[in-house]
Amino acid sequence: MTPDPTPLTVTDEPHTEPVVSPSLASAATHTATTEPVQREARTITLEKLNAWYGDQHSIKDLSLTFAPNQATALIGPSGSGKSTVVRCINRMHEEIPGARASGAVKLDDFDVYDPKVDVVAVRRAIGMVFQKPNPFPTMSIFDNVASGLRLTARKVDPGHVESALRDAGLWEEVKDRLRKPGIGLSGGQQQRLCIARALAVEPDVLLMDEPASALDPISTLKIEELVQELKSRVTIVIVTHNMQQAARVADQTAFMLDGQLVEIGPTSRIFTNPTDSRTEEYVTGKFG
């Protein structure tokens, strides 16, 4: 199972183009959806979502829509429930002992909390990138990307691993050492490896829980550029405590406080002309 050393030659491959733009500055000014839609992703709708950790009621009656092929940022002070929201979307929340959730999370018109639904299938359709890079320590770079396919009992095509690595902007850096352990990479590379791992499963939605909070500024910019590239194919929900980051990458921004939604709208409006005074106080740095 050695990867094909030559790049794919299919002309309509989006990733034959270098994914990481040489100019890092371009990402910083990027705020609107300019990428052409290459693959129609799905809409996520939360309806009266409630979540608890034991007795602690951490998400209260949250209703919210994440538009397809857009990046939505969830911002708010720590403890406001941003991470819990994304963990509810792919039903990772219930993996924590004592945690439970109620309400509906709809993928298009399909409720992932429907009792008939297979949790495992939900997670295949909704990928997730965690706060800290977490490549599997026993696996090589190649196997890490292939792990999602192997874990879901699908055939592993080396070309597919390559395209996932290209999509994550990591191919050029690792193509000569695909057999080396994934934990030998730098923090930023590890995080992009985790993104490649999530993309290889071909999800419709990508949840990112503060994906850059453990990274240096250059690696952070690379991740932000990736978000721009990837929304042509997936719906992205990105949790961040960094408002500049939200402003740079998100089409839509939602502000949360104490487990409740305060306001959601186009990013530029949330940051320049919020309707709620609490949002204004937060984005201008008066609290949090």
């Binding site: 693959r39 297979d118 299938a121 939900v122 359709a125 597919h160 395209s163």
Partner: protein
């Protein structure tokens, strides 16, 4: 997207996310299989206990539980089964093991964690742990052919010189309680030392530095900060060592002398609960009551170790709980 990845895409539509009949089957098999296995372990030990009680019944029926434990005549040929000499032998040898073994084990732990230079720490730890790698029967072999003959003159001198002490004096026999206790002491050093080391390394640095900053010498620091903090853990470790010593069979069988009587001094021959089982099971196969007596000796041994280990766990848990409680506010302040 290229054609190859296309086939990998999760198909759209309602059916794709729904649970199929096969999905999760392996998960359920694994979960219930492992649960059954774990319940099996509990049942096994319950059965174990039940068997010991049921099969020792004939001897209790003959002598009664009380006289089995407190009668001092163990003469299987006359069907006399009083286990007191065995119990006394077990307790005396274990007590000697604690008196000799615990101070030495705690000293090694102190030396390794507080006094030794970092370079010799790892080799010293390995050497102490090597003591645990020597099998019981090899300790017995060494004790029988080396300790007994070499120590006898010293024991006799001690016995003559300190005859005024209780349980000392008279002629020293080759195999005796003291030799058995000494071997047990060597055997429990690794475990007591390991647990003491573990608790000593968790003494917060602030506590030790506070003592040193007050102008304490190294030893005063150990007395002020290290020992009080690790007292519970050391007690627990000593209890675990005691549990080991009580159940230890072969080494004791070889060097205790196997005389079913209560020795007058620590240099007398004796017997222990475990040793009597190892020695007499062969002859007991045909005699139901004798066999029941040996099983009853095993049951007493089991109950004794159970009680001591419960006590040990109580001390170790209390020590580690205390440490968690003590370290929490510190962590809070750091964060």
């Amino acid at each position: 997207m290229a054609s190859a990845p296309e086939t990998l895409q999760v198909p759209r539509g309602r059916s794709s996310l729904e649970r199929t009949r096969g999905s999760g089957l392996l998960d359920r098999i694994l979960k219930w299989g492992l649960t059954a296995l774990s319940i099996g372990v509990i049942l096994l030990i319950a059965y174990f206990f039940e068997v010991l009680i049921a099969d020792s019944r004939p001897v209790f029926a003959q002598t009664g539980f009380f006289s089995f434990v407190f009668n001092s005549e163990w003469v299987p040929s006359q069907a006399l089964y009083g286990a007191l000499p065995l119990l006394v032998g077990t307790l005396i040898t274990s007590a000697i093991a604690l008196v000799i073994g615990v101070p030495i084990a705690v000293a090694t732990a102190l030396y390794i964690t507080e006094l030794a230079s970092p370079r010799v720490r790892a080799p010293l730890t390995i050497l102490v742990e090597l003591l645990a790698a020597v099998p019981s029967v090899v300790y017995g072999l060494w004790g029988f052919f080396f300790l007994i003959p070499k120590l006898k003159p010293a024991e006799q001198w001690f016995s003559d010189t300190f005859a005024f002490l209780p349980f000392v004096g008279g002629t020293v026999s080759g195999p005796n309680y003291f030799i058995a206790g000494l071997i047990l002491a060597i055997m429990i050093i690794p475990i007591v030392s390991a647990i003491s080391r573990e608790v000593m390394t968790t003494v917060p640095r602030e506590n030790k530095e506070a003592a040193l900053a007050l102008g304490a010498t190294r030893w005063e620091m150990i007395r002020m900060a290290v020992l009080p903090y690790s007292k519970g853990g050391i007690t627990g470790g000593a209890m675990l060592g005691l549990g080991r010593a009580i159940g230890e069979t072969i080494a004791v069988t070889i060097v205790i002398g196997n005389a079913p009587e209560i020795g007058k001094t620590i240099f007398s021959q004796g017997y222990s609960l475990a040793a009597v089982i190892a020695n007499e099971f062969g002859e007991a196969a045909s005699d139901k009551v004798h066999r029941a007596a040996l099983i009853a000796a095993g049951l007493v041994l089991f109950l004794l170790t159970l009680a001591i280990n419960a006590l040990a766990r109580y001390f170790v848990n209390r020590a580690s709980r205390g440490q968690r409680a003590a370290s929490k506010p510190a962590a809070g302040m750091a964060g």
